[in-house]
Symmetry: C2
Subunit: 274 residues, 2 copies
């Protein structure tokens, strides 16, 4: 018998052959599953949506961490909202200037499951620079003023508890939680399938941040492959920042050249942002 | 009842909801199907593999045509091998210097089906500059010496009749069919799923052409999303060619900036080519 996992909308999706189910539970927030697959190794799936896999996690985690952390000239304090698998934390710790990575994850069980079943991704949690808060990232940023150099919003899709992470009110609170030259990034879905949402996000961000940019990268386990991160910055610009400090990073997808190229948008994507 | 089309390997693939089947036949070469879908409009499927769809065909066809035709300073004679849907022909005709586009397609039925069911893609066939030859592209290039400025190999996956289009012997014949400053491109699959093939192709090309490059682009209906074209050139280099002549092209994915950015390779892709 063959077993296939499907991650799809009403009209389109991906399928992946599953060779084993390492873990399955329903937490207070979502169904958490870790599949074993031939194509991608172990795969974390929340409410039937692929979050990450051993084979392609490097793309998303490197881009989400290094694009903002290289854009900022000297990031010391970093806040990660969501990201309970630990992949963004692991990448953030590669930057020598970073003194603290605070992770605010709503679902403690995601962290525990990933530490057990995806240890290569969750490898940063024992670093002394990492502090974990279990709680709602939306509430957390409301209580912080001017503290973080970089905030990284590593959320699920905009359904259920993550809906608020795609709203203008949240972005204003993020701006308030950033230091005076701080910047943030958020994963903002697919330019092919989520164009209206992406346009709305960018119109909101342009009212809050002087520098707003979109970066593209390719994650094969996300439907359509092409994915986005949106960046809002009070001062530093990822298009003009010096990239020398990125030279020493051990990476497989990110590089200084990829950093710049990821902001080159096809005309159809430019039009989405207008 | 819901009907879903699946395009997958042994381990991974895409699924797309189908709302109608406009055409289905078995030609002497393959099964040809045109589905109607909500997500992508009409979709051409050969032997259960997506070739193109109305919604995303612009990405592939623009990149396959404009990358080589802008790299060459003045392309007059263009040969398209495969590409029976006509999308590459349509894009090639946008270049004012082009005097002839010769299409060599093995399966006449693909052309006929696309002219009927995908007229927006097949719109170039009635242009007086277009000449269609029904035949095997591998045999065709053997009989041609120094004639073409640009050759575009728009093939199916390397199975069945297309296997030979991914071989060194074919690339040598292509080099022979090119003018002394000619260049060619071929679609060369996914860097995530076809890395060994891609490495082999590039090692072959480097023995034949002084300039060999890889360009990346994102096609949501191709598994994994990230796709490649490989370029072999006798003289002109897509990394240094002037891009001013691309400014006037009416495109949705290709632009001069996208042209350059598409050749920026993540480190994991660079390693595939070594």
């Amino acid at each position: 018998m063959e077993c296939w996992f499907t991650d799809r909308t009403e009209t389109f999706g991906i399928v992946c052959r599953v060779t084993g189910i390492l873990h399955r539970e329903r937490s207070p927030y979502q169904e958490i599953v870790v599949y074993e697959t031939d194509q991608f190794g172990r795969m974390l799936v929340l409410d039937d949506v692929v979050m990450t896999s051993e084979a392609d996690e490097f793309v998303y985690h490197e881009m989400m961490a290094h694009v903002p952390l290289v854009t900022h000239p000297s990031p010391r304090r970093v806040l990660v909202i969501g990201g309970g698998d630990g992949g963004v934390v692991r990448e953030a710790l590669k930057h020598p200037s970073v003194e603290e990575v605070r992770l605010v994850e709503i679902d403690q069980r995601v962290i525990e499951v990933c530490r057990r079943h995806l240890p290569g991704i969750a490898s940063g949690f024992d670093d002394p620079r990492v502090r974990v808060t279990i709680g709602d990232g939306i509430e957390f940023v409301k209580g912080v003023r001017g503290e973080y150099d970089v905030i990284i919003v590593d959320s699920t899709d905009p359904i259920g508890p993550a809906v608020g992470l795609f709203k203008a009110e949240f972005y204003r609170d993020v701006a308030g939680a950033l230091a005076e030259d701080g910047l943030f990034v958020a994963q903002t879905e697919s330019p092919f399938f989520d164009a209206p949402l992406l346009g709305e996000i960018h119109r909101s961000l342009r009212e809050i941040f002087p520098v707003v940019r979109l970066s593209l990268f390719s994650v094969p386990t996300y439907p359509g492959g092409l994915w986005t991160l949106s960046l809002g910055s009070k001062r530093h610009d990822p298009l003009t920042c010096p990239l020398e400090r990125a030279r020493g990073l051990a990476t497989r997808y990110y590089s200084p050249e990829v950093h710049r190229a990821s902001f080159v948008l096809p005309p159809f994507v430019q039009r989405v942002l207008e």
